[in-house]
């Protein structure tokens, strides 16, 4: 039995990832400008306050900002990773659902074939009792529907674009033949 599909904001997640990455770059860039102007400013300061300003405020500010930017980038990657995991988990559930559907169809087809066989032999017996020649062949046993395998696992989109591709999600469809065909779509199956 197929599990439940992940609850995950696929579209929003990559937007967040991109914005986190963008924020990290924005903060680094402008924080750098701030540090540069501060350094220039301190050249006009003399005395203990200048030393305190540089040591107790300037350096910690720069260090904290760099750490925060790094963390923002890591958070962006984390969102991308979660997105990929959620997509693959969703596809896995979709595959399981397709397999279940194929099994249901196969059972129905076997049942129908059994009915046809019974009907065939009944007609053959009737013909023999009438000394008639029964030329018909028995119905062919239908093949089981084969479910196409899932496409390759989706990998986490990479920085800075965090593009998830146009159709990462697997979609299965049965066309009446012996194959449950897989295709991809931009959104998970309904």
């Amino acid at each position: 039995m197929a599990g439940s599909r992940p609850v995950f904001p696929f579209d929003e997640a990559l937007v967040v990832a991109r914005n986190l990455q963008g924020l990290a770059e924005f903060a680094s860039q402008h924080g750098g400008s701030r540090a540069t102007t501060r350094t220039e400013l301190l050249q006009s300061w003399r005395g203990g306050h200048a030393d305190t300003f540089a040591a107790s405020h300037g350096s910690p500010e720069d260090e904290q900002l760099a750490n925060a930017a790094t963390e923002l980038g890591a958070n962006a990657e984390e969102w991308a990773t979660q997105w990929a995991l959620a997509v693959n988990d969703t596809n896995a559930v979709t595959y399981d659902e397709a397999v279940e559907e194929a099994e249901r169809l196969n059972a129905a087809r076997q049942s129908a074939w059994g009915y046809a066989m019974r009907s065939y032999y009944a007609r053959a017996a009737e013909a023999a009792s009438n000394d008639q020649v029964f030329y018909a062949s028995p119905p062919r046993r239908p093949d089981d529907i084969v479910v196409d395998p899932l496409p390759d696992n989706v990998t986490a989109p990479s920085s800075p674009g965090f593009s998830g591709g146009s159709a990462p999600f697997a979609v299965y469809a049965y066309d009446g033949g012996a194959r449950m065909a897989v295709s991809t779509a931009g959104s998970p199956p309904a």
Binding site: P6, R34, W45, G58, E71, G73, N75
Partner: protein, 590 residues
């Protein structure tokens, strides 16, 4: 020295840049946090990435603000005080000024006088200065308009002791009376001796008050000079008196005043103590000058009176509610003033001080302690007085005043609310007794002729104790001025009539004379700097040499050519013969 300075314009520009950057990042952060929160809310548990990045960046915004605040505080401090690097350099120069003052003093005394006056007119100058002439001179009583013109002279002198603009912290006043028509000296002179300058300075700076006042090194110092003089009628124990004596000696040497000239002295508080020390000295009051009259106000003078030279008339004036005087009496072991307060005086002091004069509970408590002590001292008799300083010191401790183990603790306890006599000149005609509720009934309660009834040293001494008010702990000149205006003619009519007859009336020239204590006196271990021709070392007694003393003698020479002289220091001054008597008072007497 750390020099603090900044480019204020550059700092202001940086504030704008830094703030713009911070607000820009903060705005982006807010937007991303919104997206992130929405996404996290939409994701099931276990699929929610950490938000540590935005949390950290949010903390950085706080750091940014702290940085800007620090810079702004520094900017604000430096901008408000406008303390630029140039200012710091100027400060360093000013710190070197006292040294320059000492080196250049002999040559540029007049110039430095002006500069130092600009620096701090009230705080003294820390350096010896030539006498400062009072542009308006001195105006004493006019026989044509005053019934007792000499009393008016004394009143004006007391007013001058309260005028810290006229007489700086390290000065006294010297008056040369002149003929009204010709302006020539009459040969009558008067010393106007103000009291201590730091009676209440412990309130602001307890440590400062226990040493020489660093702002002036004035001889009118409570904790060292006045305390040292307390208990002695010798001028050798009184640096204030020694400096006055030195001035008189040099004025005689310079020909500014004749040897043996008649001299009156009006002293308030420590000035009264000094006046009687001078009047008791047979060399000063007999050989150098002849002190004919002394008005000694606001001091417990009784222990000194036996030693006053017989030819000197003395009027001692005491407000019975003058708490410093009461303290001096206690230190002298004299319970008589306390006895007068036993019935209702203590209660009156208590009520008057607690109610209209004090605002702080601590002061009230201290006052109560002092008043309680007064009552205890009276009740317990003379023996209790021995413990007076201790008991009062405990009272001082209760009001949170720094206590050291010296008798001067008594001042701390008695005058926590006290005012140094630094008020401006008093316009006597404006004094309306009815407007002073704390003096509802001025009453002359006692007049004692010490010579006849108490000490027996002659009939030249009159002690008047009056029931005055409580301004400045009852010590303020206004209390004494009020008394003189109201009852002086009754109680001291004979004294002032004699003083007027002696010529201490009318107008005169006046100078303020420096009594900054020389360093070699303050610190005897300090070697005297050799005098060189190029840089004449300042002397403690650098007065105008051959030139007439400004304001004394011939008038009209304001631009005196100053020629530094290097007379011996006090420590080097040989004691004049005959040896000074009397013996030191051993049972108190400040």
């Amino acid at each position: 020295m750390t020099v603090e300075s900044m480019d204020l314009d550059a700092t202001e520009a940086w504030f704008q840049t830094a703030r713009n950057i911070r607000t820009g990042i903060d705005s982006e952060l807010g937007r991303v946090i919104g997206l992130e929160t929405s996404a996290r809310n939409a994701a099931e548990a276990g699929r929610q990435p950490s938000n540590s990045g935005t949390t950290q960046l949010n903390a950085v915004m706080g750091t940014f603000v702290a940085t800007e605040t620090f810079a702004y505080d520094v900017y604000n401090t430096l901008a408000v005080t406008d303390f630029t690097e140039a200012d710091a350099t100027r400060l360093a120069e000013l710190r070197a000024l006292p040294q320059h003052v000492r080196i250049l003093q002999g040559t540029y005394a007049e110039l430095l006088t002006l500069e130092m006056k600009l620096e701090d007119a009230k705080a003294g100058d820390r350096g010896i200065q030539p006498p400062r002439r009072h542009p308006d001179g001195f105006t004493g009583g006019d026989p044509e308009f005053h019934e007792l013109p000499a009393m008016q002279t004394a009143i004006q002198a007391l007013i001058d002791t309260a005028d810290s603009e006229l007489i700086w912290q390290d000065e006294f006043e010297f008056v040369a009376f002149t003929h009204p028509d010709t302006g020539e000296p009459t040969g009558k002179y008067m010393l106007v001796l103000p009291g201590v300058t730091d009676l209440s300075s412990f309130k602001d700076d307890p440590g400062e008050s226990l040493g020489w006042a660093s702002g002036s090194y004035t001889a009118r110092d409570t904790w060292i000079a006045a305390r040292e003089s307390h208990g002695s009628a010798l001028i050798d124990d009184n640096v204030y008196a020694r400096l006055v004596e030195d001035f008189i000696e040099r004025s005689i040497e310079n020909g500014d005043i004749p040897r043996g000239a008649n001299l009156a002295i009006v002293g308030h508080s420590y000035g009264a103590d000094t006046a009687l020390d001078l009047a008791s000295d047979p060399v000063f009051n007999g050989e150098l000058v002849t002190i004919t009259h002394v008005v000694a106000a606001a001091y417990h003078s009784e222990p000194q009176l036996p030693f006053v030279q017989d030819h000197t008339e003395v009027a001692v004036i005491q407000n019975i509610y003058d708490i410093p005087v009461l303290g001096e009496a206690i230190l002298a072991g004299d319970g008589e003033p306390l006895a007068r307060l036993n019935a209702e005086g203590g209660e009156r002091i208590h009520n008057a001080l607690v109610d209209p004069w004090n605002t702080g509970a601590d002061v009230v408590n201290g006052t109560t302690d002092a008043v309680d002590f007064l009552a205890d001292g009276v009740d317990a008799g003379a023996e209790a007085l021995v413990d007076a300083p201790i008991a009062v010191a405990e009272g001082a401790a209760n009001v949170g005043i720094g206590v050291v183990n010296t008798p001067s603790n008594i001042w701390n306890a008695f005058v926590p609310w006290g005012e140094a006599p630094t008020v401006g000149p008093v316009d006597l005609p404006d004094i309306d007794i009815t407007d002073i509720p704390s003096i509802p009934n001025i009453e002359h309660i006692e007049e004692v002729d010490i010579g006849k009834t108490v000490i027996g040293v002659g009939d030249n001494i009159t002690v008047v104790e009056f029931e005055g008010g409580f301004e400045g702990a009852g010590h303020h000149q206004n209390e004494y001025l009020t008394y003189l205006a109201e009852d002086g003619s009754n109680d001291l009519g004979a004294f002032f009539a004699d003083m007027a007859e002696s010529g201490f009336v009318g107008t005169g020239t006046a100078v303020s004379v420096d009594v900054t204590v020389p360093e070699e006196v303050r610190n005897p271990a300090t070697p005297v700097v050799p005098v060189t021709a190029a840089t004449p070392a300042p002397s403690a007694f650098t007065f105008p040499g051959p030139a007439p003393l400004p304001g004394v003698g011939p008038i009209g020479t304001p631009d005196v050519e100053l020629e530094p002289v290097a007379p011996p220091s006090i420590a080097e001054t040989p004691p004049p013969a005959p040896s000074r008597t009397p013996e030191p008072i051993t049972d108190g007497g400040n």
